[in-house]
């Protein structure tokens, strides 16, 4: 993670004005490179059996029309169908879901039921990467580990009104 390897776009400030970096499909190149390479052909969106990938709106500026994942609507189920169909190299053709680096989940201790003393382990149960990514600590509270790939399933299933676990988009790239 981090800003290493991310060249600042000449007009990155323009995009920053509009919206936070979106959650990209698995295998996505770093954000700037992704927006430059993605030709908006829709192949990744059409091959996704869950309809997780929707075109970004105008608020994303020059990235409008590129595929984004909106976890609270439909998260990525890591079926790994989309990376190999990308024709332009915007998605690296990875097939191992553990190599995905879409983002990283963050728990909000102020709203998470487990932190408030209510028994809840929905996110831990639903995490597709299991113990590598999301475990419970001694007080049965969720703890996000290094193995989190940012698929957003936890954000989707969180029973609170505003999700207490949210995926922050990574700067992009594939885990080595």
């Amino acid at each position: 993670m981090g800003a290493k390897g991310m060249r600042s776009s000449r007009l990155a400030w323009l995009r920053a004005l509009f919206a936070a970096p979106p959650l990209r499909p698995p295998g996505a190149r770093p954000e700037r490179e992704f927006a430059a390479l993605c030709i908006r052909c829709g192949r990744c969106g059409a091959v996704c059996p869950y309809r997780s990938l929707v075109p970004a709106g105008w608020e994303y500026g020059s990235a409008a029309g590129t595929p984004v994942v909106i976890p609270r609507s439909v998260p990525c189920y890591l079926c790994m169908e989309c990376p190999p169909v990308c024709p332009s190299g915007a998605l690296d053709p990875i097939t191992d879901k553990r190599a995905v680096r879409m983002g990283f989940a963050e728990v909000n201790p102020d709203t998470c039921y487990a932190f408030l003393g209510i028994l809840c382990r929905t996110c831990v149960d639903e995490c597709p990467l299991g113990e590598a990514a999301l475990i419970q600590d001694g007080q049965l509270r969720p703890v996000v580990l290094e193995g989190c790939v940012g698929c957003g399933i936890c954000e989707k299933v969180c029973p609170t009104l505003e999700p207490a676990i949210v995926v922050r988009a990574a700067t992009g790239g594939v885990r080595p």
Binding site: A36, G42, P55, G89
Partner: protein
């Protein structure tokens, strides 16, 4: 054929429409394909996916070259996948010029329809609005789209591409069940240009897809050829009137935008125009009695 023929019997109207009939069939099949494809995807068939920007048929990749070039320029690198996908489409443009525009592109079909409605429904000043001269505009617009796209680090030529947008719309509506404001907004803007702008401005001057295919053309390609000794209408050439691109086929050069739609061949009463392998007519064979 070098056999001198002074007067040939006029061809029947059925004969004179044959190329256009095949072309309409081809255009309609492509449009139907892109309408049905998302529906197939909905029902779990995902061996064929994509739009006119890029289509995957099994393991075959077909990527639109202007979009590919824009992506390569924006990112400063070219991937092998992209080169492989672009190759067959580039090959077609090299050998036949921008045939894509008149035989494949669903936006082209729509644009021809709008133009025809203009000719039928609108008052004379609308109908008689001159064609814009495109010889320089076209490559300037292509260069501008590629340069600006590179500057903004986005494949602008793919983003604004009407062929892509009109095939993205059914995919998004039928498969994703959403109406993207980006796709819909850009399409509406293009439609407004089509309805209120100069005749067929997008296809002839602005479309990066058609422009790139036009300039990729080899010196010798599939082309309309002109036999001046057979031409019967030097003053008011029917072929020129029939051309949906506003080109005079008797004078068209290599980069003048002829997309081999063959409407001129269909419209020529004397058989002076034929389609074949060779250089486009060019200026060397311009009829001497013209102006």
């Amino acid at each position: 054929m070098s056999r001198p023929v002074l007067l040939e019997e006029p061809r029947s109207s059925a004969q004179r429409r044959q190329w256009t009939r095949w072309r309409r069939l081809c255009q309609a099949l492509v449009a139907l394909f892109y309408l049905l494809l998302p529906w197939l995807n909905v029902h779990g068939y995902r061996q064929v996916v994509g739009t006119l920007a890029s289509l995957k048929i099994g393991s075959l990749d077909l990527t639109e070259p202007a979009a590919g070039l824009a992506a390569a320029l924006g990112a400063g690198r070219v991937s092998v996948v992209l080169l492989v996908g672009v190759a067959p489409v580039v090959g077609l443009a090299l050998l036949a010029g921008p045939v894509f525009c008149s035989w494949v592109c669903p936006w082209g079909l729509l644009s021809e329809g709008v133009d025809r409605l203009h000719q039928r429904l609108l008052p004379r000043p609308w109908r008689e609005r001159a064609w814009v001269r495109v010889r320089t505009v076209r490559w300037a617009m292509l260069a501008a789209a590629l340069l600006l796209g590179g500057l903004l680090a986005m494949p602008l030529a793919a983003v604004i591409s009407a062929p892509r947008l009109i095939t993205s719309l059914p995919l998004e509506v039928i498969y994703l069940r959403i109406l993207s404001p980006v796709t819909a907004g850009l399409l509406l803007a293009l439609l407004a240009l089509e309805v209120f702008g100069p005749r067929r401005l997008w296809c002839r001057a602005l479309c990066p897809v058609g422009a790139l295919a036009n300039y990729l053309r080899f010196p010798k390609t599939l082309a309309v050829r002109f036999a001046p000794e057979r031409c019967l209408c030097p003053r008011l050439p029917l072929c020129h009137l029939h051309c949906p691109w506003g080109i005079d086929p008797r004078q068209a050069g290599r980069f003048d935008g002829c997309s081999n739609c063959l409407a001129c061949v269909d419209g020529c009463p004397s058989g002076a125009l034929t389609v074949g392998w060779g250089s486009p007519v060019g200026r060397q064979s311009r009829p001497r009695d013209d102006s």
